[in-house]
Amino acid sequence: CTPTVRLEAPREPITINLNVKIDQEVRVKLDKEVEDLISSNPDLF
């Protein structure tokens, strides 16, 4: 006879792989800000 398997909660854990990418909703375009940074600090750039 085939053994019947009585099941309690599975001892083998349920394994979940989860990959979360947390990024800013707004991708800030830095170009303009960087140009201002360069022009307003002549002693540094």
């Binding site: 085939t2 398997v5 309690e8 349920i14 990959n19 947390i22 990024d23 909703e25």
Partner: protein
């Protein structure tokens, strides 16, 4: 008059520096690049003796609410303390010098640090110990060599009993509550302007803890996989016995954080065991800063959830 023996002592009145105003370079160009954008108060004293034509000198420098900007560790503010020099010409000091650093921000804001060190020369120091209160616990840097104008140094940091509740606050992790403490030791490589965390592993202490995630990442994940939905239900009230957080990356750039979480939720499958392997790819600095910005940040969730079918796992639905 063959030699000019004798003694001399030199004291400065308290000097007050301001960025754009009076700077240490006004006293000597030799300090240029060492205390850039200096601010706050500094006073110094030196006792010179000339014996047989050979000059030597001891002295001290004391600073209060002193600050400056560095390429390697960013802004240093609120420095208070006094440094004794046993050789002013060599700029060396006895061991056990101590200063407090109000704020330093190599990528993560560290406040109220206590640094013990010894100056070997103008370019070398021994960091004896550095300690910051952090996230309810402490970050402690053990003994290591430090090259003052160097380009690369490695220091070992021990994170002691960091509270998960505080970590969630420091990194502004949305929709997440957590309890428990984690500890671990890891190298931090300071290379040029970057501070790299090299495969830090923080593990929960043996009491384990709880996690409650109620965010919207659950919705996008659950559509993908019914077991993922099950898992996110478990995460709403999860009791973990195993939590391992790995961090690897650039404190002021991209960081990859992976977490291994093992535990159960009383509400799901009569407390069946779950294991999560969570990978979080984020710009740590943005997370920290998001809290400080007035405008709410709508986080872009890109969640991929897939359950790993164990080889001989019988899922609750089918029984033989």
């Amino acid at each position: 008059l063959d030699t000019l023996d004798g003694t001399a002592n030199v004291s400065t009145p308290p000097l007050v520096f301001q960025p754009g105003g009076f700077q240490p370079t006004a006293l000597s160009e030799r300090v240029r690049g060492f205390l850039s954008n200096a601010q706050g108060e500094l006073s110094a004293h030196a006792d010179f003796t000339i014996d047989g034509g050979k000059p030597s000198g001891t002295g001290w420098v004391s600073v209060s609410n002193f600050g400056f900007d560095t390429l390697r560790l960013g802004a240093v503010r609120g420095v208070n303390g006094r440094i004794e020099f046993d050789n002013v010409l060599k700029l060396s000091s006895p061991p056990g010098q101590e200063v407090r650093i109000g704020q330093i921000n190599p990528g993560i804001p560290l406040e109220n640090g206590l640094i013990a060190f010894q100056l070997i020369s103008a370019t070398e120091a021994i960091l004896e110990r550095a300690q910051w209160p952090f996230a309810g616990g402490h970050l402690v840097a053990g003994r290591s060599d430090w090259t003052i104008a160097g380009t690369r140094d490695v220091i070992r940091i021990s994170a002691e009993a960091l509270s998960l509740t505080s970590l969630v606050d420091v990194f502004n992790l949305p929709d997440l509550k957590a309890e428990g403490t984690v500890s671990g030791t890891f190298p931090v490589e300071i290379a040029g302007p970057n501070a790299y965390i090299r495969d830090a592993v923080l593990t929960a202490d043996d009491q384990g803890g709880t996690i409650a995630y109620t965010g919207k990442a659950a919705e996008s994940a659950s559509k993908a996989d019914s077991r993922a939905e099950l898992a996110f239900n478990a995460l709403r009230d999860f009791r973990f016995s195993v939590l391992e957080i790995r961090a690897d990356g650039n404190l002021s750039g991209d960081m990859l954080i992976t977490m291994k979480l093992a535990g159960y939720s009383p509400a799901v499958l009569q407390g069946a065991p779950f294991v999560f392997n969570i990978g979080v790819d984020s710009k740590l600095m943005q997370l920290i800063r998001s809290g400080q910005r007035a405008t709410g940040t709508d986080w872009l969730y890109d969640v991929v959830a897939e359950s790993v079918a164990a080889r001989n796992q019988t899922t609750p639905e089918n029984t033989e």
